[in-house]
């Protein structure tokens, strides 16, 4: 046994797969120990917040000491972020359309440009050929430019609870900075938020755990059914073999996905928990394991030690368990690994069709994918809502298959070089 494990770990492919897989499993286990947020809590008002560090603005004004840094480029950056080169060209276009002579416009001279703009811009003006989209753009641009060159600070005011009058509380200078470490409320959203406003990373970790569980449950069910059927069919032969063979063929030819769709559909959404889905996947995906086990058993059943055991009057169960099972154990482990990764993929597929687990209990990788698709994340360029999910699915399944290939090389001498 020790020797076999040693052999297995000497296989590079297995090792790489194992490390990748354990990295995921460990993340799933360890992450919740440190980050205690509920995965399904809605943390953002507004959806698909981009990844980043969120600093509470109120707290950074109200509760954090402010420091003065004299950085030359601050003003330039501020202006650049509000007024790009394209914006300047667009302003020029507007000014020309409004009758300002082109030679009077220098788009690089910010002060001059802004002054011209302030004097000329009229949000109600209808310029021939200008679309509503353009009009809205100019309106937005105009409000963004407001006070862009001002050098004084911004005033913060609050309502006096007694008089109900707005009173000046503070002035924030343009040279004011806060230290992020000193702001009481900071939230790191490394993968932003999703369509419900949930923290994608926390949800993703939880979903990975749930999907792995679904994969394991489905894999174990499928492998168990496949193993039992394969053992019986291969060892007993005859009518049992025919019957199981028939079932097997039936489940192979009716596309497993179709069957899963039909069953999941007939169960109905409110009955479909994560485990129900796992069971549905398990009971529809056993045939190839059964077929493979059967082939192995057939090659074993006339071996000397099996015959000896038969002659000694051992029961079928005893023979299957002690004389056959140990010989195909490595094979069954490999089949289990494949079934698990297949289970995870199938869950994702069913969820995309809207036949996955009901959405409120737990997140799964498939459901995250499904919601991202419903909210058109791929098309809208919201990569953080779907790409990490694809990566996790691919890594899980890739790592398991690598392990499997590694095992195959160790256990299957034909594949050794």
């Amino acid at each position: 046994m020790k020797h076999i494990i040693g052999q297995v770990f000497r296989s590079g492919k297995f090792l790489v797969g194992f490390v990748m897989f354990m990295a995921i499993v460990l993340t799933v286990v360890i992450y919740p120990l440190f980050i205690k947020d509920e995965p399904l809590d809605i943390v953002s008002r507004g959806t698909f917040l981009p990844p980043g560090i969120y600093v509470n603005v109120y707290d950074s004004i109200e509760f954090s000491p402010r420091y003065t840094l004299i950085l030359d480029e601050a003003a330039a950056r501020r202006i650049a972020s509000k007024l790009s080169h394209e914006d300047r060209l667009a302003m020029q276009e507007w000014l020309v359309a409004m009758g300002v002579p082109p030679n009077k416009i220098d788009i690089e001279d910010t002060a001059n440009l802004l002054e011209l703009w302030e004097n000329t811009f009229d949000p109600t003006a209808r310029i021939p050929g200008m679309t509503n989209a353009d009009r809205n753009y100019y309106i937005r641009l105009n409000s963004a430019l407001d006070g862009l060159l001002a050098t004084e600070g911004a005033t913060v005011a609050a309502v006096n609870s007694e008089t109900g009058v707005l009173e000046e509380k503070d002035v924030i200078d343009q040279t004011d900075y806060v230290n992020v470490g000193e702001v009481p409320n900071i939230r790191l959203l490394p993968l932003g938020t999703d369509n419900f406003g949930r923290d994608v990373l926390t949800e993703l970790v939880k979903a990975t755990g749930v999907s792995l569980t679904i994969g394991f449950v489905a894999g174990i069910i499928a492998t168990s059914i496949g193993l039992v059927f394969g053992l019986l069919s291969g060892y007993l032969g005859g009518f049992v073999d025919d019957l199981i063979g028939f079932l097997n063929n039936l489940f192979t030819v009716i596309p497993p996905l179709m069957l899963a769709i039909l069953i999941a559909f007939s169960i109905g959404q409110d009955q479909r928990g994560a485990y129900t889905v796992a069971v549905v996947i398990g009971v529809t995906s056993w045939p190839w394991t059964s077929r493979a086990v059967r082939a192995q058993v057939i090659s074993l059943r006339n071996r000397d030690h099996v015959n000896l055991s038969k002659l000694s009057g051992h029961s079928i169960a005893y023979i299957l368990l002690t004389d056959i099972l140990p010989y195909i154990a490595s094979y069954v482990v490999m089949a289990l690994i494949l079934q698990i990764s297949q289970g995870i993929l199938t869950e994702a597929g069913l969820s995309i069709l809207g036949l996955g687990p009901r959405t409120t209990d737990v997140p799964t990788l498939g459901l995250m994918m499904s919601w991202a698709m419903i909210y058109q994340a791929p098309i809208m360029g919201i990569w953080w809502a779907y790409f990490p999910v694809i990566v996790v699915i691919a890594v899980i399944s890739f790592s398991m298959n690598l392990m499997n290939t590694g095992l195959d090389r160790v256990f299957n001498p034909a594949l050794r070089e």
Binding site: D41, I42, S44, R45, G46, T47, F48, T124, G129, T131, N132, A133, D134, N136, Y137, I139, R140, N195, F196, G197, G268, Q269, D270, G354, R358, T359, T360, W371, M373, I374, Y375, Q376, P378, I379, M380, G381
Partner: protein, 602 residues
């Protein structure tokens, strides 16, 4: 699908060798500069063009509703959701009631004619109604309780005789006058051809695809398959008469692409393959803010459109504890509506700060119908956990056994909030409702059954709702000529309780004689001041009893336009008078917008 299998299979061979052939120019392309592309109205292919049947799955041609679609078939009047008025289309001038309000009279525009050039007459209107009644169409089923008959007194004049109750008073004048802006006029001659063809069989009449139908609208059917529906402009359209529009609508073709889901529609809108999109595009602002696309909405900022309907969560008033108004109120005021609006609607709804809750939709016309100050005390904007906890404590509904959840008379308050699976914005909203429960010590979990299950359960009003339907979402009426009366009726009237199949409303089983009385009286009332008082009273009852609570405002139809090809779509403050509503230029008065469109690059 008109493409035969052999063509497709043959194509394959070509596809595998891709890239060598240079295709010749064909005539079967819709010139981009003459075509206005839609999406979001039609899901699935068209079955027929029969204006008598409402099961043609033909959204572009047949939608007889509050804002009837009048591209192919026309109604006598057009309803404008923005100002609540109706404007004549086939009719000539406004309709009039007789003094006893038993007969409504209007005349037909003498310029109006059918696509076969014969004039539209009052007889067509009368015969259309007669046919509906004779073959018991859905239109007849919906109106026979209110309309006794429609007759043509002369070729131009139509009289609608209202059905009278035992007291000799019109049953419901509001529904009678709604008929003229919600139902099509169908040509008598063609109807007779149809009747002949089906041999008087009602089922066959409704099932007829009516490929030969005669219409009076500015567009006529051109092409339909799985991928699109195309209408072509009738250049002989009567509406170019000076008495109506005075010109033809700008696009020669109206093409509606049929997408399988919103994602495909969004992609096409971004690519400029759709000009007007009537689908929910989440975070619509990122089209222009992040992607810099020439896409815009009716309003430049959130909520981007005009809300018209009130998606509402109903309380099952038979559930334990929900018969207690304090519990209902606590839940309703604790819900974080700003999050619902920001997340489920991605801000495409006015907030309850902007438009305080009532039974009215956010349009100016309806908002003017009640006294805001009179009910201001009762309105809430949500997320008021403190008050919710306070009123529960005050009512003695506290957590007595220390499990973190409140009990009423020793029984834990635990509810299931439900909405159909796959209705993403509703699901997101109901999640927020459930989250509110946690804040106030009431255990609310969510459940999303399939729509087929959901609707069966919810619409069965002759028995108590089963477990799992304590709080559930349903829709409300949008904007229309009978609003807000009809919406209020469906939210509050007890007349629907006990129906085996209740598709109308009040699914929670609310019953209040005072409200019923007001709902009965409003259609008969003509004095605006009295109406305002009655509506205000209904709002007061609603906000006090809280049999249901609105979660968001939702537009009649979404209106997102891509101005790569066409421009001059309606926008807030575009100066049109009467204002063109943002209804995809298909429905009711919004068709006026089709006459304003211009090309970006003529």
């Amino acid at each position: 699908m008109k493409l035969n299998r052999f063509t497709i299979v043959a194509l394959l061979l070509v596809m595998l060798i891709t890239g060598t052939t240079s295709p010749s120019v064909a005539q079967d392309t819709l010139p981009r500069n003459e075509t206005l592309y839609f999406n979001g109205q039609q899901w699935g292919s068209v079955v027929g063009w029969n204006p008598y049947s409402n099961s043609n799955n033909n959204a572009m041609a047949i939608a007889q509703q509050d804002n009837a679609r009048v591209l192919m078939f026309e109604t006598p009047y057009l309803y404008n959701m923005l100002d609540g008025q109706v404007y004549p289309l086939l009719a000539d001038g406004p309709y009039t009631w007789n003094d006893s309000r038993t007969e409504l009279t209007f005349s037909i525009n003498p310029a109006a004619h059918w696509s076969d050039d014969t004039p539209v007459t009052a007889e067509d209107v009368a015969y259309t109604w007669a046919t509906h009644v004779k073959y018991n169409t859905p239109t007849a089923a919906a109106n026979v309780d209110y309309i006794a008959d429609i007759v043509a007194t002369d070729p131009q004049t139509v009289v609608i005789q209202a059905k009278l109750n035992d007291a000799g008073v019109t049953v419901n004048p509001l529904l009678v006058q709604a008929y003229v802006s919600t139902n099509y006029v169908v040509q008598k001659a063609w109807t007779q051809v149809l009747e002949e063809r089906v041999g008087g069989d009602a089922t066959a009449l409704l099932a007829d695809p009516a490929e030969d139908v005669v219409a009076s609208g500015p567009y006529y059917k051109f092409f339909a398959d799985d991928s699109k529906v195309v209408l072509i402009r009738d250049d002989n359209y009567w509406g170019q008469d000076a008495s109506m529009w005075g010109k033809l609508p700008a696009p020669k073709y109206l093409a509606h692409t049929i997408f399988k889901d919103n994602a495909a529609g969004t992609t096409a809108l971004q690519a400029g393959e759709v000009d007007i999109s009537q689908q929910f595009n989440s975070n619509v602002q990122s089209f222009w803010l992040e992607n810099g696309l020439p896409i815009s909405t009716y309003l430049p900022e959130a909520p981007y459109g005009i809300g018209a309907s009130l998606p509402t969560a109903f309380f099952n008033l038979n559930s334990y504890g929900l018969d207690n108004a304090v519990v209902r109120r606590a839940i309703a005021i604790a819900v974080d509506y700003p999050t619902i609006i920001a997340n489920a609607m991605t801000n495409q709804s006015a907030t309850f700060d902007q438009v305080p809750r009532s039974l009215m939709n956010p349009t100016a016309g309806e908002q003017a119908l009640y006294d805001h100050d009179a009910v201001a005390e009762l309105q809430w904007a949500g997320n008021d956990i403190e008050t919710a906890n306070a009123i529960l404590d005050e009512a003695g509904i506290v957590d007595s056994d220390g499990d973190g959840w409140r009990e009423l008379d020793g029984q834990k308050l635990t509810y299931i909030a439900t909405c159909p699976n796959g209705w993403s914005d509703w699901q997101a909203a109901i999640e927020v409702v459930a989250a509110a429960g946690k804040e106030i010590g009431i255990d609310i979990t969510t459940n999303f059954p399939e729509w087929s299950v959901y609707q069966t359960v919810v619409t069965k009003s002759d028995a108590p709702l089963p477990e799992g339907y304590d709080i559930f979402m349903m829709w409300s009426d949008g904007a229309g000529p009978t609003q807000p009366w009809s919406r209020i009726r469906k939210m509050l009237s007890s007349e629907f309780n006990g129906m085996t199949s209740n598709w109308n409303g009040n699914w929670g089983g609310y019953s209040n004689p005072a409200a019923d009385e007001l709902i009965q009286a409003i259609p008969q009332e003509t004095d605006p001041a009295a109406l305002k008082e009655m509506y205000t009273e209904l709002v007061r009852i609603y906000l006090t009893d809280i049999p249901s609570f609105t979660l968001m405002y939702r537009p009649q139809s979404f209106h997102t336009v891509n101005e790569s090809v066409w421009t001059n779509f309606p926008f807030d403050g575009d100066g049109t008078n009467p204002p063109v509503p943002p209804l995809d230029l298909m429905d009711g008065w919004s068709v006026a917008g089709l006459y304003n469109l211009v090309l970006v690059n003529p």
